[in-house]
Amino acid sequence: MVTGVPARLLQRLILAACALLVGVSTAFAHPHVWIVTRSEILYGPDGKIIGIRHAWTFDEEFSAYLSQGLDTNKDGKLSREELSGLAKENVESLVDSNYFTVAKANGKPVEAAAPTDYWMESDGKQLTLYYVLPLKTPVSGRVFALDVYDPSYFIAFILAEGDNAVTLKDAPKGCSVSFRRPKPIDDGVKKTLTESFFNSLAPNIDYGAQFSSRAIAACP
């Protein structure tokens, strides 16, 4: 019934429709949230790593978005109390994103337990979320690698500048931390196209990982 050119035409119509839908399925969401991260790697008395204390500072725009309607006493300032509900909500939902934290001890991923000791603060412009992410089981940290990133790159995590971006607390003598930072994002875009082109041919790759920074804590 359908032969020759019309069959090809039909084929083309269907292909076009499919292309559209594939377009739908691979959505682009550029970052709408920028978070500058600082972390502290916490060591126990036995020299094992027991957790990570994060301090995440949101960009000014998203801070305004997050804090709308929260100044309940209308004094123009946001107290820790006014932000406590938001802090709770955030740390509780972070579990579904694995806290955007990928930590590996001696090459093996470590599991995180529920956050403790969390709160949020405002400096008038920007909000900062503080929380402790305990490890399920303390690990010996000869080589401990810490990445904070959003694989979908909706949230752009940026490691704070300077050598104090990740610090060690109560670490055994001789431990030190080093950083591997990505190229600045502005001139990084072109580079991304060339360098990781062949790495990223597989769809749905961990795109956000390309922009992540890694801190490596090493102990003797």
């Binding site: 019934m1 359908v2 032969t3 050119v5 019309p6 069959a7 035409l9 039909l10 083309r12 119509l13 269907i14 429709a17 499919c18 559209l20 839908l21 594939v22 377009g23 739908v24 399925s25 691979t26 959505a27 682009f28 969401a29 550029h30 970052p31 709408h32 949230v33 000014e60 725009e61 305004a64 978005y65 997050l66 804090s67 709308q68 309607g69 929260l70 938001l86 909500e89 955030n90 939902s93 972070l94 579990v95 579904d96 994103s97 694989p151 979908s152 790159y153 909706f154 949230i155 752009a156 994002i185 875009v189 991304t192 196209l193 990223s200 041919l201 769809p203 749905n204 961990d206 795109y207």
Partner: protein, 341 residues
């Protein structure tokens, strides 16, 4: 007796055939999507988290991929930063509204360059049942304007009038989002039914076409190609605009709330309006491309007799089925990642 029974049994037969056609088209569309995901995907996309922190919509958390995506993301990201910077420049008195308008416009152009469900709805609608360039462009502008108005309305009602928190804002946005996906599914279902009936009628000849009831495009004397591809109705037009444009853009909402917090909501609205104009431009280009494609298809089909007509009719039914499936999957949350706009 036969005069009365005749048309009604013909109409029954027509509906029966249309149901079969619609079911086959749905199965074919599901099969095509499945096959394509096998061909392109390999591993299924990781599911975005069920609950997302910081009040981000799960739709936005969908994974992305590919170097082209990386490039578009990079450009969009820079424009978004430039836009918020322009707003801050206005606040600090170091920049004028014209900078805000220009950057908003360019952000809109580039932001719309990535695929999103809105663009799929518009292109799909045009492929399935539109031929006029002017109407395609009008739909694009209407959808972009609606998107800006929904964002402005949401912020005015939720933030200004109700003093809502980010969470309440997100919940409302999610409801609007699901409604827009439902509208997409409804549009797809309706197109699928209309187009299936037309395909069924094609098989029965002109008498069956005449027997169709309740259809808006009732010129039975029109040439069959006209019948296949004429504009469906104002209802479908509105459904397309609502499905494509009612989901507000998160960037616009964040920008507006930020502007409000700075006491410069007016500037925020100007920026969002400029953004919407840019979006309309890009979407119009896509609409024009779809119209062009549709014309090419009709031209190829014309003069090839029934085979050509069948090919176009089948193509339209399949596109309608794809719109329905995508809309339903998005609305039911089976398929995330369609909504980055």
């Amino acid at each position: 007796m036969t005069d009365i029974a005749g048309p009604s049994s013909a109409s029954l037969r027509l509906n029966g055939r249309a149901i079969v056609i619609a079911a086959v088209a749905l199965a074919a569309a599901v099969g095509a999507i499945w096959l394509l995901s096998l061909l392109l995907g390999g591993a299924p996309a990781p599911k975005p988290p069920a609950r997302t922190p910081f009040g981000v919509s799960p739709q936005e958390m969908a994974p992305v991929g590919g170097p082209f995506a990386a490039w578009v993301l990079g450009v969009q990201s820079q424009f978004y930063r430039a836009l918020t910077d322009a707003l801050k420049a206005v606040r600090d008195g170091v920049g004028g509204a014209s900078g805000l308008v220009w950057i908003g416009f360019l952000y809109g152009v580039f932001h719309a360059a990535g695929p999103g469900h809105g663009k799929a709805v518009i292109a799909g609608y045009i492929l399935a049942s539109e031929r006029a360039l002017a109407r395609g462009v009008a739909i694009s502008f209407a959808a972009a304007a609606l998107q800006a108005l929904v964002a402005i309305g949401l912020v005015l009602v939720m933030s200004v009038a109700l003093g809502a928190t980010a969470r309440q804002m997100n919940e409302t946005t999610n409801i609007v989002e699901i409604a827009s996906f439902a509208a997409m599914a409804a549009l797809g279902a309706w197109l699928l039914w209309t187009k299936s009936r037309r395909l069924a009628a094609l098989g029965e000849g002109p008498r069956a076409i005449a027997a169709r009831d309740g259809d808006d495009c009732g010129h039975m004397h029109a040439p069959p190609a006209e019948l296949l591809s004429g504009p469906v109705s104002a209802r479908a037009w509105f459904a397309t605009v609502i499905a494509a444009g009612s989901r507000p853009c998160s960037g616009a909402i964040i920008l507006l709330v930020f502007a409000l917090a700075q006491g410069m909501l007016g500037s925020g609205i100007v920026g969002v309006a400029a953004m919407s104009l840019g979006t309309a431009l890009t979407t119009s280009a896509l609409a024009a491309l779809s119209v062009f494609f549709k014309h090419a298809a009709l031209k190829l089909a014309s003069g090839r007799g029934r085979a050509g007509l069948y090919a176009v009719a089948i193509g339209e039914v399949v596109v309608a089925a794809l719109i329905f499936i995508a809309g339903a999957a998005l609305a039911l949350g089976f398929w995330t990642g369609g909504a980055a706009s």
